[in-house]
């Protein structure tokens, strides 16, 4: 029997197990939502403690980053991430995990090119394109006096 590539694709799609989107997406929603609700709880706590809104927001980020690195070190975060998917990736805790996890894993390759360099394997691109986008935006508002 001979198949065209399209036919083969259709068959393999039929035969391969359904990606578990029906489960993945609600889990991402639930756990990502909980991370954000935790952030909001901290936000209210810090504002009640007298911090201004912007300062409180920064303090929330720093707290969540700390918590994420701690849980990554204890090997808890990666286990949650297995079921949460984007729920633990998209919040800032995912960014911190993307730094802490390779830093820890590649420590064995040395402190400079292992830990130090691999820490930025995912965070690096995020910073490169994030900062560059912000600079482009800054140029636009500077040139057109939109600030």
């Amino acid at each position: 029997m001979a198949f065209t590539p399209e036919e083969y694709n259709k068959m393999s799609q039929k035969a391969s197990p359904n990606s578990k989107s029906y489960k993945n997406i609600p889990m991402a929603f639930l756990i990502g939502g909980l991370v954000c609700a935790l952030g909001q709880g901290l936000m209210i706590l810090y504002q009640n403690a007298g911090l201004e809104k912007d300062t409180a927001s920064t303090a929330v980020s720093v707290s969540l980053v700390f918590l994420s690195v701690l849980l990554t070190g204890l090997n808890v975060y990666d286990n949650i991430a297995k079921v949460a998917g984007a729920g633990t990736l998209v919040p800032i805790t995912g960014f911190a995990n993307a730094m802490a996890s390779p830093a820890l894993e590649f420590k064995s390759e040395g402190f400079i090119l292992g830990l130090g360099a691999k820490m930025f394997i995912i965070a690096g691109p995020v910073i490169v394109y994030g900062i560059s986008a912000s600079i482009l935006y800054g140029l636009i508002i500077y040139l057109f006096r939109l600030y």
Partner: protein, 122 residues
Amino acid sequence: MEIFIPLLKAFLVGGALCAIGQVFIDYTSLTPARILVCYVVLGVILGGIGIYPMIIDFAGAGATVPLTGFGSLLAKGVKEAVAKDGLLGVLTGGFTASAAGIGAAVFFSLLGALIFKPKDKS
């Protein structure tokens, strides 16, 4: 009740942003690293044109905690820096605004890597 509503809003909006990310993981070939980059750049754009700040007003941490909030923070920082320092602010604003988060992530990750042992590969 006064506390419950903001928590619920943060949960719903933050959860929705994560669910969208999961849709991209499941239905496209975007890797997690690409999704993070897209979220941050999207945050800069939405923050720049003033849409994201409205979402933050509504959802609080539900909008600031996802990485789009990080992008929006970059745009906000640049805008403030340009208003204050002119052309130089174009370069300083993003890093100034994100300094605390990135500084914390770098230092805590270094400490974490020094203190903890990598998990077994088995």
